[in-house]
Symmetry: D2
Subunit: 225 residues, 4 copies
């Protein structure tokens, strides 16, 4: 299995317009260059379809637990495959949903052969989510998000306890570590702790050249072990 | 001034994929063919940027009262112009927001030279919204939305009272009539009552060929007076 | 007409238990003592019925736009009169609702002969709310709430512009000024600007003896003019 | 251990005023009369403090994950003990919250020695919640709530699978069965399936004399085994 390098583009300025498209182009190149790493772009709602046209492995940052219909301004899971989007992130720390919502989105995505990346704050939430069998789970202590203090250094026990949780409930789900991951070294440290990859945002999106930073992460992860 | 024919694509199946793009292509053609009518497509969040590439006059169905930043899965107004989107619909009956939200989105959109189409349920809400000076206001009695019973026939007083409200608060804002508008005749009846256009959804989006239905509306409105 | 001294108890520690009951007892005494002032306690949800047993003129801090039924944990307007509560505050800066919500709560309250105190951030929102004809409107610039910087001093134009708005839409609705009101002098300044009273929270609720502070405000307002 | 008979009063008309107080009085009598049954009243927000004065074992229907402070119209867990309330129900099917909310409310309640009754839709959600160690968990398939079709008859596997989940994660937490429980026989059937009690609403609250119906349930559960 490849290591997963998931970039949450959030809605930083660099997540839109030409800069976002350049990132998508480079993400594709980087994906082919480093065989041991899978690069996922988690795109904003408004341009996910445009990003997905450029980088094949694009997820969207949120979906609502609805189907097609009269739901102005909401995001049905069904629409994603028609727009070339490969997967959906759900329950991110900045966009928490109910367990019911999570359950419905994951079931619907599975039926539509879309991938799911579900986020949890804590090992307990990771365990709770694992019962729903998403494709990937990310653990991110909310107090570290955006701080530059990497979870892999400040709270390694969150990663190891989340891995314990997964082992008991559903050991096949790959765990990503997130929150404060700032350098390729932080990413490697997460892999050493047993995670299968990282969920990273500001370290890449706020870099002057997000694609260069992305490549540094990809190269380091590709060379690991 | 042109009459406004605003199509709320909602998240009907036809609002995504090839069918949506075909509608966008035709909307452009129809816009050039009928000089007296301005066709606005109000696109879903996920493909608004793609629709806007095809049909210039595309709005999005909702925006959040946030700026750029760490707001995973939300929709900052700032992003719209970078994605080629011309305007934002806000406070639709199916996506109600607080007055504070409305206020912030309208102010931010104005600063960015984006258009705003704000919706209200009642003549009272229309009056309330008019104090914020959006570019367009639509009035839609929620109990008629999606019923096929046109507001212009079932509740013409909602339109005329909303016009009275606007006259007192801000007479320059064009009013659209919406809810249950099913035929070009319903649209014409709305214009006769004094509205400057319509906001229509299911009558077009659920038609077998949405673009043909769109052209029928455009032609009728173009020929009026 | 009496001046209105409305105390938003919020959910400060002093809003619960014996301290809250003591405040309610004193509010009743103060009400009888100062004939020119109407003291309203705006109570938390959980003890509004208990506070209302002690102080007759008790409102609740929020109500949902629902009726009786299977709405676990929500607050139907209908329940209030059965629990001795006289009125409902709605759309406070810390608990914003949609215009539709506001509309329904105000209409339902009127039908049930309950009073309504609706809050707005700005003169524009005050105007918008006035179209719904609540019994009282309070204007509170959110940026001053809890700061101790009184609206009457820092942004007197918010009060005077809100009064202008009311004059145009519905001149009979009394306006309360709120946000940062810390001293009886701030209250008097608000009356001088044309308001009919104040909405005050931390200045009273965070005082060592909230009832003594309440009496100081009541006495000053009673003596004004 | 006693069987648990938890009555979700919801916001039915009978949950307020004199009828609610009569139910509280009788609940106390019934509690003393049937030693094998613990009667919990889950009261509306607005009169929970008044109900708790009459029936000692009163929970509230919802709490927010906040502390004391400037949160107008919200429900801090801290306030409950000052108002004589013994516990909090959280995440009911009609008032779903995020896992983070659930986590915070349960932790805060534990610190304050308040009981928690957490609800889940499915065996998966029950498992997820069990990782947080609330005092009681109730499982209620949302599609059966209020239908009169008892979960114990229509979907007994929901109860048995939820028990399996608990056995793996945290076998000490008592499980209540809910949704559609209409008769004392439905309650007994739930106990036979292994639950430790029931969560019931409309069957009692919509009865002409809720207290008589309550006694029938209590008597039957008391006599079981």
């Amino acid at each position: 299995m490849k290591y997963i390098l998931a970039v949450n583009m959030k809605v930083y300025e660099s997540a839109f317009g030409q800069k976002a498209r350049e990132l998508a182009r480079r993400a594709s190149v980087i994906s082919s260059r480093y065989n041991g790493v899978e690069v996922i772009l988690v795109a904003p709602l408004v341009n996910a379809s445009s990003i997905a046209e450029i980088h094949d492995n694009t997820y969207i940052q949120h979906a609502d637990s609805i189907g097609y219909g009269a739901y102005t301004g909401y995001m049905p899971v069904e629409a994603l495959s028609h727009e070339g989007i490969k997967g959906v992130m759900v329950n991110h720390s900045e966009h928490k949903v109910t367990y019911r919502h999570l359950h419905r989105v994951i079931e619907k995505a599975r039926a539509l052969e879309l991938k799911t990346l579900a986020c949890g704050d804590t090992p307990e939430e990771v365990a709770g989510i694992a019962h729903l069998n998403p494709d990937i789970i990310a653990v991110e202590p909310p107090e570290l998000i955006g701080t530059g203090i990497p979870v892999s250094k400040a709270k390694p026990e969150v990663i190891t306890r989340a891995l314990d949780s997964l082992r008991k409930v559903n050991p096949n789900i790959p765990l990503l570590a997130g929150a404060g991951i700032s350098t390729p070294q932080d990413a490697i440290r997460s892999l050493e702790l047993g995670s299968k990859g990282i969920l990273v945002a500001s370290a890449i999106m706020k870099a002057k050249e997000p694609w260069s930073r992305l490549e540094e992460f990809a190269e380091a992860m590709n060379n690991y072990k």
